[in-house]
Symmetry: C2
Subunit: 299 residues, 2 copies
């Protein structure tokens, strides 16, 4: 294993532990009828997922010397948004998925109503965590984090992309529209992770251009890789159902470009993403490793 | 009509217009596949409801000379949370309601998946609006508004109360537990409305005790009144189905106390709420009128 490989492996292990620990500490189970709700939130939030958004956020924050505790707080918030979106996306009326992170989806492990409420509660939890006074950056930074996460997750970001994804089942989307869809559905939150790390690092907006370029490129590469996993992957390895997009008649990067050109495109995007980091030295090695990991993963 | 009656009627009319206008301005329909999502958000958010939370928030803000525009912004945020909770609460897997504010519920007018996403989008929208730089109080005030709204709407507030409400269908709750349930499900957000008005007015936490007492009392009175409407009301006037709690076998204030004692209890709570305002003069007349309106309304 090369130096960057072990840097990546160590960082993935560390962030997984930190995020699990933070969710565990911040979501104590109450001793009344709400216990089931918090247990459902914990079921979905703890012990699953690659924690890619927290990894990106903390990697950028580390580059600018941000205190680890403040970065983890913000990372938990964005991961809570990601987890809530998966819960709602898995619902019978949405993607109707039975498996997530290798275990039954929340609405099967609990029930649909609890899944709706647990998603909503994790959504509110994200903003509550960002606004908490406990660890905290100054209010100027806090409110910029709230604004960034709110914008990236709502109708103009992630939720807007999910809506386009629903429409995609009954429409013929071209490459440009599929690109736009994915930039919103997955890219907006990945971009917010990078942006929030930069906000914590007090990088002024005009100094964030290269980081935004990096985030945009890895966001698209990530989605192409996801389409390839859906097209070719193994459900047991992926931890979720595969072959779904073709079954739903949805256009994807793979259906529009073919697997070979899609793979080539993802590789190009990753090189382009790394190119955006040229002004940085060794401190950006983790971001470079994350970019490469994004297209090499099998889940 | 007495002086306070016309004050109330004028204020209800004014806030309805302002909230509709703000939603209209803040939710422009985009020219792509997300149009359907924003149309769904607008369908649920514009032109319905009593706007009780915005009325409370602006009434308190007015007492402390808060600029109207800033108060309306915060009022739109809390109303967006209320509207999203109604959309999700009406879903087939939750209360399975067909009518809301006298028109078909969102999942019937559109579809279930769109209803889930429109609720989620209004949820994110609320925090985005609070964090906006356009109109704004200082970041200290903004972040306190975010913290208050996040806490009141999540697992420790409204969503927690909704979870208890689900459990209530299969459990025998006593008066104390029903009270706690309602304090969370409805009371938390009504309390947040009053609290947010006070935050905008820069009333320090130790100076908010009487306002919290007022909010707690009208919150319970509001729910008892709702139970009475559900017990005795007319669906056409209420704008939604009635008689549902009894059908679902849920204990309510009316089932536990009987209608006469429930009505008496609500009246007592309103007098107690008004009592909390004794230190205020005419500037609190609207809050007094709102307290009385809460048990006199028929929808």
């Amino acid at each position: 294993m090369g130096v960057t490989d072990s840097l990546l492996a160590d960082s993935l292990g560390r962030i997984a532990e930190e995020i699990d620990g933070a969710f565990d500490a911040l979501l104590p189970v109450p001793g009344d009828a709400r216990a089931r709700l918090v247990e459902a939130m914990r079921y979905a939030a703890i012990g699953g997922g690659k924690r890619l958004r927290p990894l990106l956020l903390t990697a950028v924050a580390d580059m600018y010397g941000v205190q680890r505790e403040a970065a983890i707080r913000a990372a938990v918030a964005i991961e809570a948004i990601h987890v809530y979106s998966l819960i709602h996306d898995d619902l019978p009326c949405m993607d109707d998925d039975a498996m997530r992170h290798g275990k039954p989806t929340l609405h099967l492990a609990f029930d649909e109503a609890t899944a709706v409420l647990a998603g909503d509660s994790l959504h509110a939890f994200a903003f509550e965590v960002l606004a908490d006074t406990a660890t905290s950056p100054d209010p100027f930074t806090q409110i910029e984090l709230v604004r960034t996460l709110g914008h990236a997750s709502g109708a103009q970001g992630m939720a807007g992309g999910q809506m386009m994804d629903l429409v995609a089942e009954t429409s013929e989307f071209d490459l440009q529209t599929v690109t736009r869809l994915q930039q919103l559905k997955t890219g907006a939150l990945l971009g917010a992770a990078v942006e929030m790390g930069a906000i914590l690092g007090r990088v002024q907006p005009e100094g964030r251009g290269h980081l935004r370029g990096y985030a945009r490129d890895i966001g698209l590469a990530f989605q192409i890789a996801d389409d390839l996993i859906d097209h070719e992957g193994d459900a047991a390895v992926a931890g979720k159902a595969v072959g779904k997009d073709a079954d739903a008649g949805k256009e994807t990067f793979v259906s529009l470009l073919g697997p070979d050109r899609a793979r080539e495109q993802a590789r190009m995007l990753v090189e382009q993403a790394v190119g955006h980091l040229a002004q940085h030295g060794r401190e950006a090695d983790l971001l470079r490793a994350v970019a490469r990991y994004i297209i090499e993963r099998d889940h």
